[in-house]
């Protein structure tokens, strides 16, 4: 499917591909194309971790761990660590090291926000999945729901919060790039609109089909995410987990469409059964001698036991 998308573009011819591709994308994958997004080209990442430092500064987090402490370790984000750069060792086609930055993927249809019963996690129309700590009651269902296991909880606090990358929504609102992208020295992080970045990603794969894996991680994962990755080694090696292509909130829709039916159909059905039961009692002659209807009939039967 994904490879077909790319080869399909090839079939349209080189010259026209750019324009035609964008229109075909618009029809095929209009989903979230105007959301702000980030493309991570892992082949360009030098693993300098400047993004980690910038992220810590922008979010008033503690300074990231020193290089020596993180070498050779696959790290996860944490309540006070919104992004981590994980190295995969010298595995690139050129024999160089490969790295991948990990943070919230900012899904187009985020599982975390869909399960939040107080809308503390909320998907903004601009793209970022933001968090309102003042609403949160700390049920941690978002952590259960997130397929990327991104939301982290301050278990050690008395009034704990869920913590994760906010895509620097506040900076974006001021027209600035997210902190990480603003400091990336190698061009591994490209910030823009999702539709344009998908084209950029596919264009790079198209121009270097031998180099890149023919897959944009995040195009379809979890129904599509605003963070997109391209790579020349399998994504699992970069500690990017395999995630289903479907939008996770869809998995609950069937079950959640039941309440209206239960609420409208159960009462008349139950009342009908009640009427049947009462009628049966009346016919059976346990009936209304006491003038109390069902209540009296009930008493009668009790005594028969």
């Amino acid at each position: 499917m994904r490879v077909a998308g790319i080869t399909g573009t090839t079939a349209l011819g080189l010259g026209a591909s750019q324009a035609r591709a964008s229109s075909s994308h618009a029809s095929l994958d209009a989903k979230g194309e105007n959301e702000s997004a980030m493309l991570v080209d892992t082949t360009l990442c030098a693993g300098c971790r400047a993004c980690e430092t910038a992220c810590a500064e922008a979010n008033a987090l503690p300074q990231p761990a020193p290089d020596a402490a993180v070498a050779g370790v696959v790290r996860d984000t944490a309540p006070e660590v919104f992004t981590v750069v994980n190295g995969a060792g010298p595995v690139g086609r050129d024999g160089d090291e490969r790295f991948a930055k990990r943070q919230c993927m900012h899904c187009i249809e985020p599982a975390c926000a869909s399960v939040c019963m107080v809308r503390a996690l909320d998907k903004t129309p601009e793209g970022p999945v933001v968090y309102h700590g003042d609403r949160c009651l700390g049920c941690r269902y978002c952590m259960v729901a997130c397929p990327f296991e991104i939301p982290k909880y301050q278990y050690d606090k008395r009034a704990p919060l869920v913590r994760k990358c906010t895509f620097c929504a506040a900076r974006q609102a001021e027209g600035k790039k997210p902190a990480c992208a603003s400091v990336c020295p190698t061009g591994a992080l490209s910030f823009g609109k999702r539709g344009a970045l998908l084209e950029l990603a596919k264009g790079r794969i198209y121009r270097n089909p031998e180099k890149y894996i023919h897959h944009v991680y995040g195009e379809h994962e979890a129904g599509g995410t605003d963070w997109l990755y391209i790579s020349d080694i399998p994504f699992e090696k970069l500690a990017l987990r395999k995630v289903r292509d479907e939008a996770y909130p869809d998995k609950v829709q069937g079950a959640l469409s039941a309440p209206p039916f239960v609420m409208t159909l159960w009462p008349p059905l139950l009342m009908g059964l009640y009427a049947f039961a009462k009628r049966r009692e009346a016919v059976n002659g346990n009936g209304n001698a006491h003038g109390h209807g069902g209540a009296a009939a009930g008493k009668e039967e009790d005594r028969h036991v």
Partner: protein
């Protein structure tokens, strides 16, 4: 006796009769000094102490929860199991009040009281687990209605209120408030309908909670139909709990039964028939879940053995025992089957929310002693509350002076 004491006498008499079981304060307090009461005090005291510590020091200091395992014993046992075991209230309530099975009337009140206490304690357990429970009102301010948890929370809140009203019937009899009692009785049919509506929704929605986590819950337990499993098993749990609790309370509170004693054996054999059918349907559905997901090969793994233990040992086996007991009128089989069912359904809830969740991760979650002691404290509190109420209020049988009472 002085004149002031005389003036206060009626009130004192009331207190003595209603609260102190007709004893004077000193005799009453002395009567409380039993080994079982001491044990209960210890367990509840420990649970309360841990709860205080949990809010003072945080979840991290008191629980073994982690970033990978956000839900533990307090969700898996206190809430998930507490609520399913309280399903007896709506199961028996609807059988008696809606479907005309009046022969089960004598066990309806204990079932409703158990359900009410179960829900209250489940809510207490949930409050302990929430990071910031005081933000609960935000459910109304910024409702996230697309969440299965919203459905659960909303319905649990509503159903607990319904249960409170149903429980108020014996309370009003106890207080002798005839007018309030009469009014409440008129609302009873509506309340029973509501109890079925809310229970259908939240018992199944507790299963729907896990639909969003297909990769984290073991495929043998994950099913797109998990909400149906949860609802059917809730009915089975309700029936089983009514048998278990009926057996215990009928023995313990024998002195509280006024008027004619119901033939408990006969009632339980009838429940056994229902239990056999319910559990067999549940077993069949669980197998259908395996077939639908094409997970037959997984049955031959370690997790498969665990799954088979749950579904065969704790669903099919009690179903057959129920059937045997009902067919040959052997109530012992029904009672054993009910106990197995209760254990099996708690096991299922724990499997879904804790044990088979994150099944493929290293460092599996094991609850801390503090989590365990809160759960034990809550169960003990429920038992003590039941005992306190059943010893005073017309729970085991209704007040004969309120003879028209249907509920």
């Amino acid at each position: 006796m002085s004149s002031t004491a005389l003036a206060a006498a009626p009130r004192q008499d009331w207190f003595r009769e209603k609260i102190l079981l007709g004893m004077d304060l000193r005799t009453y307090l002395r009567s409380l000094a039993t080994p079982l009461n001491a044990l209960a005090t210890l367990l509840i005291g420990l649970g309360v102490t841990v709860l205080v510590y949990r809010f003072a020091a945080g979840l991290g200091a008191s629980t073994n929860l982690s970033q990978a395992q956000p839900w533990g014993l307090w969700i898996g046992f206190d809430m998930m199991s507490g609520i399913v075991l309280a399903a007896g209230g709506f199961t028996i309530g609807s059988a008696v009040h809606l479907f005309g099975m009046h022969e089960y009337h004598p066990i309806a009140r204990p079932a409703i009281l158990t359900a009410f206490l179960g829900y209250v304690l489940a809510v207490v357990g949930l409050m302990a687990d929430l990071g910031k429970p005081w933000n609960f009102y935000n459910m109304m301010v910024t409702p996230g209605s697309a969440s299965a948890l919203f459905e659960v929370a909303g319905c649990v809140l509503m159903y607990t209120s319904v249960l409170l009203l149903e429980f108020l019937v014996p309370v009003f009899e106890w207080l002798g408030w005839r007018k309030a009692h009469e009014r409440l009785e008129k609302a009873m049919l509506a309340l029973t309908v509501l109890s079925v509506v809310f229970s259908t929704m939240h018992q199944s929605a507790l299963g729907s909670l896990f639909l969003i986590a297909p990769a984290k819950l073991h495929p043998l337990w994950y099913s797109p139909y998990i909400f149906i499993f949860f609802f059917i098993s809730a009915i089975c749990a309700g029936i089983a709990m009514v048998v278990v609790e009926g057996t215990l309370t009928h023995r313990i509170f024998r002195h509280r039964i006024t008027g004619k004693h119901a033939d408990m054996d006969k009632l339980q054999i009838g429940l056994g028939k229902a239990g056999a059918i319910g559990l067999f349907a549940y077993f069949f559905l669980k197998m259908q879940g395996v077939a639908e997901g094409e997970h037959w090969d997984l049955l031959f793994t370690g997790w498969g053995a665990w799954f088979l233990l749950e579904t065969v040992g704790f669903v099919l086996l009690p179903s057959l025992l129920y059937g045997y007991g009902a067919r040959y009128k052997k109530v012992k089989f029904v009672r054993v089957a009910a106990v197995i069912t209760v254990i099996g359904i708690v096991l299922n809830r724990l499997n879904v929310s804790v044990i088979a969740y994150n099944w493929d991760k290293p460092n599996h979650y094991v609850p801390s002693w503090m989590e365990v002691s809160v759960s034990i404290g809550l169960v003990t509190a429920g038992v003590v509350a039941f005992r306190w109420i059943a010893n005073r209020m017309p729970i085991m049988s209704e007040d004969p002076s309120f003879a028209s009472s249907e509920f």
